[in-house]
Symmetry: C2
């Protein structure tokens, strides 16, 4: 029985998302190296293994350690934090570790301090403007390659980019346009460097383009993560449909304010995170409410959304016609705006079949 | 040695904040019942006890359980979640439990299902529009009082309000104005009900007004929480000065992008939360950078702020004149936008004197 905020996982929807992405990877002849930062769970990871996935992506060295019990080819898709060299060496001894480098300082440091051979990608900024070298910055790229060309510990694997700017897209055509531009930046680098490095590969990320695009020519592997659950943000972007969203938060109703057309739930920023999006109809929202069927869920309830979150409270806007259908003590199901952030806060899944699935807890592992 | 995102606590600043608020409470003749949802730590709680605090506020029943080892008068400042009746009874047996009621349904449920006597406040909406009955809603107030007047388990304690709208204020005069209006709503209720309930008290909250206001006439207790640490949001509101902020996040630099005047830190949404504010000078920000002095810190560095956060990355804007002072592997100190949310994510403090202080972990307690 659900008595407080609980993250529900629909295993069938989740497995379907995994199978679909795997089929896309096969169709477009790319390796699926899924990003596990979304689900952060060994058990869910095994569902990927079951269908043939053998390589994964994570976002921190701690997460790599957690998954290293089950996986032996792990890319940490985050610029190397040189202060964690000890963890890097521990991992490098145990698994095929792949890291991202975007400066000669980091390359030099690793060259000097690594005890085991690892692969590295040069991180390229393909439009997201978060990390990475400009694709046109030949000098910096050459500097890193020069520094590592005779290295016994650093093996150049290729170029890696994350088209995170697709998160600002609305609809299929915008995603495809962003994807095209991002991909072309990576492919251009492959064209330039493939004579000198015939084995180099291109690693490409982000859920929106990997869910929608149909041209991956030149790309060797894809690293989507969020698709395993999807969420309201992906729905707004146009990367999924409502029925693809595989997680929902179950939240008890603690107060009903008819005069304000609002319901207060137990479920706040410490459960959902404060991730928000601007909805064209509702304004700023933090989640959408779905029809409840036991612990499973159906369609969106029109006009119902989280309009505000504080530490433990969620304030839900409810249409006048709908509000009398609810009582204090009922449990609402809410699709989160950003499933990665919500899962990271909740640390445990309750499946629609009432099984408990534990996640990585970076503070207690 | 700090090698990954770490929440640093300046114990002296924190104890000064506690002492100042306690002195204010004494000066204005109100009881300080601090809200412990910000620090969530038994050890920090003891610093309050040491100066004479005997009653506390928390935001969930789980948190009440955690603190019930040290405290025996606890208000859960959240509308009763009736689904947790078992926890309520466990707590009610052990400590003086005080809860918030804002509906007759909840009053009826508790009347029927409580095994031990507890106090309740009627939650009043004093302008925040999050929870609570309208102060003018005499009918609903009377309904609850009628239902509980002969109850053996529900003892009416008074009215409770949270002037959370002060979080939208900028500067002292706006805070004082909001405080005046909020307080008058509670005081009006006291005037109406004190003949029938001579022992009723008024409980009043929020850090901005409790930090700034000088008129608490009619109020019996105050429940500020955030003041224990303060943060960038309180700084913007005008509730504190930079030197009052008692926590900072230490984050390693993992990349430097001179061409974009940006530094990438290891420290993202899973460390800071995605709480943000609009700064008049910088636009949307997620934290401000301070001068580092070992693990302690000094003034803000002008022009340096977190402009974006993803799961593990923070992107820091850096003035052109400043960027060459930093190297990969350096650790930056960042004042968080919302210390409650950041502390809740980090679960552990490292003090400026290198002691570790553990927090409540609602998922592992």
């Amino acid at each position: 029985m659900i008595i407080k905020p609980t993250l529900i996982l629909d295993v069938e929807k989740c497995k379907t998302n995994i199978a679909k992405m795997y089929a896309r990877a096969q169709k477009y002849n790319v390796t699926l190296r899924p990003h596990f930062k979304t689900h952060q769970s060994l058990e869910i990871g095994r569902w990927f293994k079951d269908i043939g996935v053998v390589k994964i992506t994570v976002s921190s060295l701690e997460m790599a350690e957690y998954f290293s019990t089950d996986w032996n080819d792990i890319t940490v898709a985050f610029p190397v934090n040189i202060l964690e060299i000890e963890t890097i060496n521990t991992l490098a001894e145990k698994v095929q570790l792949n890291v991202l480098i975007e400066s000669k300082e980091t390359a030099q440091f690793l060259n000097k301090n690594l005890k085991y051979k690892i692969n590295f990608f040069i991180k390229i900024n393909i439009g997201n403007n978060r990390t990475g070298l400009a694709y046109s910055d030949a000098e910096s790229i050459e500097n890193i390659l020069e520094l590592t060309k005779d290295s016994a510990v650093l093996n150049f694997k290729g170029f890696l980019g994350h088209a995170g700017q697709t998160y600002a897209c609305k609809g299929e055509s915008e995603i495809i346009e962003a994807h095209k531009k991002s991909k072309s930046k990576l492919v251009r680098l492959k064209d330039i460097f493939k004579t000198r490095y015939p084995d180099l590969i291109l690693s490409y990320g982000d859920t929106p383009s990997c869910s929608i695009a149909e041209d991956f020519l030149g790309i060797d592997e894809i690293r989507p993560g969020n698709f395993v659950f999807y969420d309201v943000m992906q729905l707004q972007i146009g990367a999924c449909n409502v029925e693809d969203i595989a997680v929902a938060m179950a939240c008890p109703i603690v107060a009903i304010h008819e005069s304000r057309n609002e319901i207060v739930i137990y479920g706040g920023g410490i459960h959902f995170s404060k991730e928000r999006i601007e909805d064209s109809q509702y304004g700023t929202i933090y989640g959408l409410i779905v029809q409840k069927d036991g612990n499973a869920w159906g369609n969106l309830i029109p006009g119902m959304y989280i309009k505000g979150l504080s530490q433990e409270h969620g304030i839900i806007k409810v249409p006048k016609s709908e509000i009398n259908n609810y009582s204090i003590g009922d449990v609402l199901l809410v699709l989160p705006v950003h499933s990665c952030m919500t899962a990271n806060l909740m640390k445990t899944y309750l499946t629609t079949k009432n099984d408990i699935i534990k996640m990585f807890d970076h503070l207690n592992n």
